[in-house]
Amino acid sequence: MDAMPAPVRHADPMVPRPFRITRVIREIDGVFTWRLAAVDGAPFDFRPGQFNMVTQFGVGEIPVSISGDCRRPETLVHTIRAVGPVTEAMQGLRAGAIVGIRGPFGRPWPIDAAIGSDVIFVTSTIGLAPLRPLILEVLHRRQDFGKVVICYGTRGIHDIMFEEDLHAWRARFDTNVHLTVHSAPSGYRGRVGGVAAAIHAARIDGPATVAFVCRSEALTRQAVNTLGERGVTPDRVWVTLERNMKCGIGLCGHCQFGPSFMCKDGPVYRFDEIEALYSVREF
């Protein structure tokens, strides 16, 4: 097996390292990808599913998943959707700007749990960003897995992110991509409908499948239920949770629920470990 580089923890996890934005890619309206390089030139090792605390100096700091390839530690990649003050300010930054990075933090996707199994990725809109490093890694180690299926949903045909990747994955003989949109202009030849329909259409052997789900929390349970109808039990489904975070290292309690700190015990969880939370109102 061809190992990923092991993440190295840098001196003080509360001190941001300066990174330079080397390229800004507009994914869709209001969503952009940064390619970054450490100002000190040191590589940035991480595992798929981990996140960084990203600072725009003088504006604020937010958690952002890493969306790049863990085998290319010389380039850090973040994909950000502008939704509020910090992310909107970040949208205004251009190549050459310096931002602060603390991380990598959090429990990664447990890729080894899927070795020998079929793998299904279920995601929508910006959820593809945190899954992308895992998809790249699974495809890098393609021979370790059975079927690989990607179910991805977006609002409309102009909201499809990472379109180049989706085309490339679709072109592979060993990967099935089910792309679905909520609505489309007449004449559109792709699938229109919810992500559940894409899961139903996927050719998987449920009991032999491991699922990685990255959707908003309102929709995670639906995805898990639909996977259940296909025979994928909750102990084989991995999901992410997103909560407000401050320190990112289990000190401040901002992200705490019960005994768990999402910044270090999450953001990736096995669904059956946190299933009970989904029945707690206003959790």
Binding site: T125, G187, A196
Partner: protein, 164 residues
């Protein structure tokens, strides 16, 4: 002449008819025909009499909503093994949307007038058909509700302001 035996086999092979009682299958096959549509063909249009329902054998069908003064919007696509069209079950028996073939589409088309007549005479047949239709309708309704949740909870990205 309609080849009832061939149609019965084709119908039996469709997921809608899985484990169907052979008598019921024969009765339904008597209202059934094969149909082929080419890309762009309408299977039905909004407002027309709902005189059939469809079991897709091969191909993709787009359900479209006509928008006044705008291009139609595709709200759902359906594929091999799926069924569609329930306006034939509910008065006033008119289609509430358009259905269009996205590629070469082969369907089993069930004549609604024929079926309604047989269901009136044979309530067990009606029960059997409703029993098969309802879960599909419920699943589509649940899925539409989740799509509303998704559209309502997903933040709309803020567009970049033009520089200058």
């Amino acid at each position: 002449m309609v080849n009832i035996v061939g149609l019965e086999d084709t119908l039996a092979a469709h997921p809608f008819a899985a484990d169907m009682d052979p008598d019921v299958l024969r009765t339904i096959a008597g209202c059934c025909s094969n149909a082929i549509y080419h890309p762009g063909d309408y299977l039905f249009r909004e407002g027309e009499p709902a005189d059939a329902f469809f079991l897709i054998r091969h191909g993709q069908v787009a359900l479209e909503i006509h928008v006044p003064q705008g291009a139609p919007i595709v709200v759902e696509t359906l594929e091999d093994g799926e069924i569609f069209g329930w306006s034939w079950m509910l008065a006033p028996y008119t289609w509430s949307n358009d259905a269009r073939a996205n590629d070469q589409v082969r369907v089993l088309k069930l004549d609604a007038t024929c079926l309604r007549r047989k269901m009136e005479a044979d309530r067990a047949l009606g029960y059997e058909l409703y029993r098969r239709f309802l879960p599909v309708m419920a699943q589509r309704l649940a899925s539409s509700r989740m799509r509303i949740v998704e559209l309502a909870t997903e933040p709309r990205p803020i567009r970049a302001r033009p520089k200058g």
